[in-house]
Each structure stands twice: as structure tokens, then as C-alpha cells.
Homo-oligomer: 218 residues x 2
Amino acid sequence: MTIPDLVIDRLPQYARVLASLDDQGRDVVSSQEFAELLGRRGDGADRPWSAAQVRKDLSYFGRFGKQGRGYNVRKLMDELRSILGLNRQWRMAVVGIGRLGHAILGYQGFTPQGFRIVEGFDSSPHLIGQHVDGLTIRNTADLEATLKETRVDIGIVAVPAETAQSVIDALVRCGVRAILNYAPISARVPKSVQIRHVDPVLALQSMTYYLKASATLD
Amino acid sequence: MTIPDLVIDRLPQYARVLASLDDQGRDVVSSQEFAELLGRRGDGADRPWSAAQVRKDLSYFGRFGKQGRGYNVRKLMDELRSILGLNRQWRMAVVGIGRLGHAILGYQGFTPQGFRIVEGFDSSPHLIGQHVDGLTIRNTADLEATLKETRVDIGIVAVPAETAQSVIDALVRCGVRAILNYAPISARVPKSVQIRHVDPVLALQSMTYYLKASATLD
DNA sequence: ATCTGTGAAGCACTTCACAGCG
DNA sequence: CGCTGTGAAGTGCTTCACAGAT
């Protein structure tokens, strides 16, 4: 049985809702209530979440619920975190320490989820050697040499569009198998490498299509 | 004929590739080459782009190509920008001027695409009244009063998870019909309001599923 | 009575394949 | 001959609906 990629994409959202329920001290939740708590999908597909989809998605991995009762919040959360590989530390390197890179280094949301930034690279001479958020910035030219010494699981690309593809290529050569790309480009990577794009402009540009019709003019 | 939301989501990526081709002085592109330039989808669905999909997507909106030649880069780009509503200015308000909010205010990528930040809100007394990137920060408590005076098309939410839903509710009450949410929550908004989430942690958590299998241990 | 797990049905998007135009 | 535009076929995800467990 092969698991659709779309299902994998939804699991982190499930895990987050469960963490929130757990914080509130809730022990049990039904697929029905779960679907309501998932709110609106933040992507194009504007279909609401359904209880059936939650049950079906979970059924790919096992039988986690109790008929007549629902799902144990804590247990299901632990299962999902295990399925997603979140019960360990992941080591990340950030390339590009401009405004965006600084914000990424300072972001407080990674560590509690087990994502740790262990290296920072930039090519600007007045940044190399500087200490930023407890990290010594290294020269991007030394990326490949450094990553031969230090294991890094995930590369974060925060350089300008012009140099992004070559940085991605370098990361791939170093054996990095997952890339989080903040640069506004359509990157090319081998099939064996995971990549996700974070691009607020693309998100905005798909919303304006729907606004356009009834928007007041500028 | 009804246009799938998934098609709308792809159009901004098409527009971006065309802009890049235009920069390089290219006049014409075939659907085949176009698909290759689109690189890897940065989402779960790991299927490659196909020439047929590009042609099909474009055909929802008109007949923009020339048989035997391909598509005129400039013309197609203009068409797409018009379809997406990108040939005008969009006014945005940022709520939450912490580290993330600061980075958003300073981000250079919005303005060239026609997205202008015209208001900034925070609830912290030592930020209210301060000038940040040419903007006077207002009190979040005055959000509704301010947006009665100044038109804002899009709300950007950069507050902590705990207060995000209430900020979103306030924006919706003000008639804001599109929201870009950076807070790590599953937000609830009416169907008439567009919402997109920017969440690097969710992106990371879906990649680790695929890394898990063969990753070296920590 | 309630709610899960799941084959089967339904549906929506993608891909095919070719007519038709330049 | 090359490449678009597009009905039709194919595919894969979603929803249905109900048996089965508590």
C-alpha cells in the first residue's frame, strides 16, 4: 500500500492540533471534532476538512481510535510524531545571513520542535566570522568543506534569487537531502532530495485572483 | 466552466518563470521548455511539471500560444498578471511587530510585486508610536477604528499563536478579505475570506517523514 | 447509541493523443 | 514539421455508507 504525498503533508497539521488539545488537557477527540478544529486549509484547495478524511488518513498508518469513543489525544500525537520522525533532533544549516537569514536565526519556533540551526553561512566579508545568535558565520565558499566535518540534515536557503540555485546545488553535493528554500525561484533538485518553498509573494499572488473580482480600485 | 483552485495556485509560478525568461531577453517559449524550467514543486505532490499541464492550465483562460512556435513570453506574462490581478497596487497591514513582523516590514520582495505595507500594529506600549521602516506603529486595540479610515486589502498576521485567531477575527470584522498568516495555528475564517499560511515548521515536518527512513541517527 | 475503519463509489485533476494551424 | 488546444481516457484522492467494536 502506497501512501499519498498529500496525506504526509497533512500529518504535521494533525500533530499541531493534537498538541493544542493536549495543552488544554483534553484526553479524547472524535474525528468529527478534529476536522472542525483544523479550520481552513491555507492553500488553494478550499474544500473543508472532513471527518472521513481524517479517519482515512490515519488508517494508512494503523488503527489508533476506539470505536464509540474516538482517539486518545496523547497517544495519537505520539504516534504521529513518531511517523513523521519528530522524536529526534534535526540539524540545519542556514545559507544567507541577510535580513531574512537573521530573522530565521532568531526565530524561536524551530527549537521546541526539534529543529536546531548548527551552521550559518554568508559570502559577505563583513559578516564572516561575526557571531549571530550564538553562531559563528562561516564563508559560503567553505560550505562543502564544513559540511564534510559537521553533519547537517536540512539546508535552509535564504540568499537572493540570483545565487539560490548554485547554493542549492552545493548543498545537494554535500549530501543534504532536504532543503527549505526561501528564495523566489523554481529550484531544480534531484528526485532523491526533498524541497519545500516558503514564498509569501506566491501566496499573496494566488489570493489576489479571488480578490480581483470585487475589489475596490486603487 | 469552473477553474480548479489548483490551477490558480500554479499561475503565480508561471508568471515568475516568465518574468525570468523576459529578463533573459527570451521572446518565445514552448510548453515543453516551460515545464522543465518550473523545476520541482515545493509541496508534497512530487509529480514533475508536464507540458500538457501547462497548456491545459492556460487554456482555461484563453488561447495564448501560436501553433508551431510556442508562447510569446512578454504577452503571456502580461496576460497572467492581468488574470491574477497583479497590475495594480495592493494595500496591506501587518499585525504583530516582533522579530518576525520587523522582518516582514523590511522585506524588499513585496514592493516590486505591487504589494505595499501601509499600516503596522502591535499591542506592546514601547512599540506603539515608534517608527519602523517608515511606518508609525499603531495600537492593535485601534485596529478596527484605523481600518475604517484607511482601506486595506490584505492582512498579515505575525502575532504569537495565542492571539492569532482573535487578530484574524478582528481583520475579518474590518472587511479584510485576504489574510496571510504566519502564526502556527489552524485558523478559522468565513468561506468568503481568503487565507494562506506561511509556516516553515510544517514544511520541515513533512520533509522529515521522507528523511526518517535513511537518516543517520543523532 | 456512538464513533472508528474501510471497501466501494464518486469526483476532480492530470495525462493522453491527435486534429488543426502556422 | 513543430507545437498548441482540447475532448476523452486515465488516475488518484476524497467521500460515502455501513459493518463492527465498545
